[in-house]
Symmetry: C2
Subunit: 212 residues, 2 copies
DNA sequence: ATATTATCGATAAAAGATTATCGATTAGAA
DNA sequence: TTCTAATCGATAATCTTTTATCGATAATAT
């Protein structure tokens, strides 16, 4: 139940989504084989992943209780206790994230957004005020926010990152195409489109090669 | 020079960005140690990564030629020959991607966008027409497009995915929070926010735990 | 000219992740 | 009730990725 691998951790949200779908359609239990087929993983891998987050094992011939799994994965991923976050850079991408209602289900709530543009009347897609950058530090400290989302253009990303850290942010989710440099003790997750695309392109190349 | 690991592949775009920065500032060569420090990797890992894409090795006491590395990584990642792509779902996220000019540098050009909304005069952020879905198949076939980008709401993602495959798309870059099911021979890269967030949250938890 | 030191590449070791194997269990059929 | 087949968990084997080690090389200082 402790020390789940990075790889497992990334597969869990996928399982959870699928299990919720199954749950909606009224199914009560599911086998590791069925899950594995759906994702193209091996059944053994699925069983290992599930075992690492759920104490309630599966039953031979029946599989796992879907409800129990949903509960355990939700708990493990911390989706039950929501973390506050701020977002800086209310352009198209920032607005898209602000308008996305699904984050709450992932244990994340964007509580405020900031932008350098001095438009005093600006509002985000939910109709909430967009604050000036100068207000960030105070708000982060008052609400004890740990997570900062960066959706500014590349050239100001490092500067925003530094401001966030100064304000007390401990984890940065970076959507800007730069490699941020941060001190020890600060978590960064780069949403690196180029890296994703590199993976996809390689897969595509393999497929095309296989075709001939 | 063949068979680069998935992990290496994902690090390469980061190196490339950094090397370009260094190049801009006039530096001619760089050591694996310097690169490693910048990213928090080990120097051995950086050397292995670079060796797997560049025939021109480094020199003791000096390091690697920045220009040569940039050339070789660009070549390896296929950034020199641009692939066409289509995008379906011109909402906020779709618009953000359509408006992002950086893709060209990553060997990708979004040549057309589609949406279900029947607005005959709609244009994307670059001022190009947004087509009706019914036009997709023909266009994909005529231009021999291999890559499809999905930025529609969750509930229509699988349907769009199926249409793309029917039209001949071979690689799907999915930004919708669903697990697409595709037949063999089709590449999928899910831009899974939940998985990213899971990683970030775990890092954050580790940091906070370490603090006490 | 020689010594020192940062750096490299290659190989070996360790760590991490996936897959294979197999006996045990249980639902459902015969 | 007994048999069959699907499924599980645990352990072992394999494969992949990262890290460690070490001799060789070249720039710089002595």
């Amino acid at each position: 139940m402790e020390s789940v691998s990075k790889e497992t951790l990334q597969r869990l949200p996928g399982y959870l989504r699928y299990l919720k779908e199954m749950n909606e359609s009224g199914i009560k239990s599911i086998s590791s084989t069925a899950i594995a087929d759906r994702f193209g993983f091996s059944a053994v891998q699925v069983r290992k992943d599930l075992a690492s987050v759920s104490a309630e094992g599966g039953k031979p011939k029946t599989g796992f209780s879907i409800e129990a799994l949903i509960e355990d994965i939700n708990e493990f991923l911390g989706y039950n206790n929501v973390q506050g976050a701020i977002l800086v850079g209310v352009g198209k991408l920032g607005s898209a994230l602000l308008g996305y209602k699904g984050f709450r289900n992932y244990g994340l709530e964007i509580v405020a957004s900031f932008d350098a543009k001095k438009d005093i009347n600006a509002v985000d897609p939910m109709g909430r005020a967009i604050y000036d950058m100068s207000k960030m530090e105070d708000l982060v400290r008052r609400l004890c926010i740990n997570i900062g989302i960066i959706t500014v253009p590349a050239k100001s990303a490092q500067e925003v990152c530094d401001l966030m850290i100064k304000a007390g942010i401990k984890a940065i989710w970076n959507f800007s195409p730069v490699n941020l440099s941060v001190p020890n003790g600060i978590a960064v997750k780069n949403e690196d489109m180029a890296a994703s695309l590199a993976l996809l392109s390689q897969q595509l190349a393999d497929i095309i090669k296989g075709t001939h």
